[in-house]
Point group: C2
Chain length 218, copies 2
Amino acid sequence: MKIGILGSGQVATTIGHKLIQLGHQVMLGSRTQNNEKAAAWVKAAGSAASQGTFADAARFGELLWNCTSGLHSLDALREAREDNLRGKTLIDVSNPLDFSQGFPPFLSVCNTTSLAEQLQAALPETHVVKALNTVTCSVMVDPARLGPKHDIFVSGNNEDAKALVVMILKEWFGWSSVIDLGDIKSARGTEAYLLLWTRLYGHLKSGEFNIQLVRREL
Amino acid sequence: MKIGILGSGQVATTIGHKLIQLGHQVMLGSRTQNNEKAAAWVKAAGSAASQGTFADAARFGELLWNCTSGLHSLDALREAREDNLRGKTLIDVSNPLDFSQGFPPFLSVCNTTSLAEQLQAALPETHVVKALNTVTCSVMVDPARLGPKHDIFVSGNNEDAKALVVMILKEWFGWSSVIDLGDIKSARGTEAYLLLWTRLYGHLKSGEFNIQLVRREL
């Protein structure tokens, strides 16, 4: 499958690497056509990898990923141009983290809205599915590194798009438990969780963790 | 120990019941001296149980619990009067949940502050420790009902007060894992988690759940 990834940071290249391993063609999109980090990744990743602008990557992909930093995601998606995104599924793994005051960060939006909702509102004909934003990128593409049992979440308005993402998480990435939290508004929950995640990161001194739901056996 | 609990709802009476079972004397505090729910609880709980105003309960307790609903906690603590709270540990299990727009609720404060910080700022000579607000009250006092392994969090500025609360959680209530997230500001994380908790509640159709941290074994 032709897959476009918006972003060229560690999250983008980690997901890109995994998708290449799975046999897909991946284009990383950046603000500029010749972004250096994207170029280094393309050089290492081989012939199935390419790079371009945000618009190039959005046009290229049958499936799209938003791996830009949350504070810049709306701008990046605008640069990608709505007509390149229309009718496609956009997996949004970003978080609206504002590090301007240091660590731990604030959220730039939360509670009564979420970044995922803002992206969906800006792109009404694109199927935004929030996913994977509750774990660090090494865990996103290799959940088994933490053990067999822990949970990941999806939120989105389009059931077919969500089913596609659940399939990708389970079949491609190996997630054993994917919890559908509901429509895109439920991304408020997983984005706000970052306020706890960052405190846990401070406590554990590592981002290599996740949560497992424990419920009463009835 | 003489323990004052501010509140007379299900959280207050569940914790009160557990503390009575453990051999303590418990006074529930309410806005009015003769609150009906508190009276019913006192009648059922026996001679170690009593009721009074918020100020009565705060004066009575060597240790205090805030089990009022989050939207009214600041008012309740004001009615309890600062001189009745000075130098004491106040375990804050409340959440600033605003149900005025229905379910799921919003948070009335979050992200750049927390209810626990607001309580601590209003009561600078009281040792506020945020704890247990990430689970429903039946789980607060009986974590084993969900199984042996899941996590609970504490946040607070005073290390001695926090050590007392950790002891209470472990020795009195049976929590096997208590994670110290840091100072009272870290309550932003556990309060914001309620935005995910309420979505999980909607998914599971039950509040009888918690999270267990899963981390990479190095």
